[in-house]
Symmetry: C2
Subunit: 477 residues, 2 copies
Amino acid sequence: MPSEPVPAFDPERFRREGRAIVDWIADYWHAVAEKPVQSPVKPGWVRAQLPPQAPEQPEQLDAVLADLDRVIVPGLTHWQHPGFFAYFPASTSGPSILGELLSAGLGVQGMLWATSPACTELETHVLDWLRELLGLPDRFASTGTGGGVILDSASTGLLTAVVAARQRAAGSDVRDDDTSHSRQLVAYASAGAHSSVEKGLRIAGISRQWLRKIATNAHGQMDADRLASAMDADAQAGRIPFFVAATVGTTSSGAFDPVPLIAAAARRHGAWLHVDAAWAGAAALCPEFRGPIVAGAEAADSWGFNPHKWMLVNFDCHTLWVADRGPLVQALSMKPDYLRNAATESGAVIDYSDWQVPLGRRFRSLKLWLTLRMIGAAALRQRIRDHVLWATEFAGWVRDDPRFEILAEPSLSLVCFGLRSGDEASAALLDRVNGEGRVLLSSARIGSRHALRLAVGGTLTRREDVETAWKELSRLA
Amino acid sequence: MPSEPVPAFDPERFRREGRAIVDWIADYWHAVAEKPVQSPVKPGWVRAQLPPQAPEQPEQLDAVLADLDRVIVPGLTHWQHPGFFAYFPASTSGPSILGELLSAGLGVQGMLWATSPACTELETHVLDWLRELLGLPDRFASTGTGGGVILDSASTGLLTAVVAARQRAAGSDVRDDDTSHSRQLVAYASAGAHSSVEKGLRIAGISRQWLRKIATNAHGQMDADRLASAMDADAQAGRIPFFVAATVGTTSSGAFDPVPLIAAAARRHGAWLHVDAAWAGAAALCPEFRGPIVAGAEAADSWGFNPHKWMLVNFDCHTLWVADRGPLVQALSMKPDYLRNAATESGAVIDYSDWQVPLGRRFRSLKLWLTLRMIGAAALRQRIRDHVLWATEFAGWVRDDPRFEILAEPSLSLVCFGLRSGDEASAALLDRVNGEGRVLLSSARIGSRHALRLAVGGTLTRREDVETAWKELSRLA
């Protein structure tokens, strides 16, 4: 006979255990700076510590916490470590973590407005707030034909934009019939665009041969003349230029594509322009950085960035705005009989399942709301200013050291650099520095060179951590 | 000048505020049964309560908590209310909420094994545990050619399976060239399959005309003979039958497609067989229910279900297993230079970004791990047994009342029924019952009839809540 079932939710037990977990997390953040940034474990080590079968009978929280310390923490690369400078930051904050906790604690599912009106309306509202904070044009406001939605990632944002673009290219009459085309659809992005462009197109059934990777100039920016020529050539050959992805802040080097020029080419062919500002978008909070970030946005059909990178909201939180929600909803709305309801039929509400790949969704706007309210826009701006300043200082130290060289013009808080003695020496230095455990950097190819990347933006990162990174690099070079 | 920035993470402040949120959630669960299940607010009410702009300066947690009570809670449809019987449950549990909190608190991002080995290995391990608990065949174990992954939803699981199926149909040589086909790909699902099949195919660029909706029999099950005929006809016409979606537990009525017969047809044409057991899958924990749920799984290429429906893990947690991870990884792997690392190149690790649409991912296996450990398999089984028993009792009450009739054979914990006086009367009864606020049911079409659906499975739901549902229906009929 099974034992008496454990109550699935006992509020008093939750109160007790919730406090224990909150304390465990607070202790983790207290101590994270003393851990090696990168996990030292070998493949298979974590699994080897775990029992081969799931437990039949309930265990106590203490046993779980002990395993967290013994098995999980040693197996983590600590993204919240103040010395984490790799990739782009996944910065989080107390309010954001609490927002995620609230979302889980409420346990509502916002696939339709009717399945929790607040889940939908808070999201629409907070994305209108954020649009204004970033200085994005009115066309993305929900009060007009556009609006914003929270998705899991910039990759998914791009796929979502591709699907809307294809719908628009096909015309509104094909929805229930056929979204295939007798003429081939062609997409465009720079050779420096993120891999998610190729991946998103592939998922959408548009193979690599129909993605034109437009060459970049010496600064890693898409060459708008080549884009225009490629689009013209495809159109003349009877193909349909349907989608252009512009990047504001490339992953490798933080390059900004010339969005206004790209927009002009896209407009001439009626192609959908998607702007991926995944990392750099957060810096549009600051008026002094905003100009090049939002340039051309008034001609973009969709524009997305990740508050989960540099705006203190924990992963996952990608925010995507569209200027016209029509083709998006037309492409992604499914209303089987079991989802029909009066609010939907009234036409007066947003059903966010019509704006995304999945049907279900959790209450992610809570963490964005808590972060904006409990940190405030002024402090979010100040953090970005600090990070840009520290990265600029770091770039100065690199420039002043004859052993090193800057490999791409620093962009906001990202610095790409290497050793003058060559790529192999740079790669070896990266391994040594990361192996010491005090900081973690990543790498990228810049042109023909192997560059080290330092991206400032961690939640706990202070100026002195950036100094530590430089001291480690300098010492081990 | 901006004010002094608020520290983004102050452990002592987090400790204090975290406790306040934990207490707020505990209080919410104490009181949720007294609230109307369905939010009574009108479209626009929530937004009208919120200020038009984001705050510049930080606010205190008290202000946020006050707004949660004043604005958010009235705008919720309470999925965790014991009287929530609509759609399928989104059951959660204390351990799962705490797992989500831990995931947010650690703030690691597991796109690669190297970016947090524990994030990857715990997921692989717990999905091997779960595979065994469900009695799924060995072919889905990570120790062979297969393995499991956590995705956000069954819709995304289906899209992921479609993309892998297309890759396999195209052959391993086309990855870097072209995934388009000179011969048309055709997919198959029953007319009773979830709307996510059509949506996933559409996202993948396969239009509705290439989805054959195979007729169902009187029990809502796919007619396997018609499937075989349709596949044969397409193959004879030079098209490629590449993907079959079978459903174990349809959304409308909980019908089980005859997976072994479907598998035989799929195998004959080399088509990928995906089994969607989104809701019913959890019941495979119980040996007495397992047989029909896992029947034919030994011939499936992918098999998915949602622990976030009926297994006490909060949304989002879809678990997808594949028998051969080859085509999946081939279709979805992108390794630009900025993600290259020694562990990936060793071939000894899983990089889960190769198994999913997005690049980034959070540490979702924590909540599955905590739920399995702190609730235990025995109690998870007992809960499912209880729910099936109570649904069976409810169906008996419906049958015994001459005003009512059962409209589909009850399936596990789902009962579809209506008033003998007709569909309009049933619809009116649903509105009245839901309007009273003590319970919430949803509806579906069953054949030509408008059915009321009662799905038992809520975290707090007891037998007496099912009785309340019946008393309300009986009183208002």
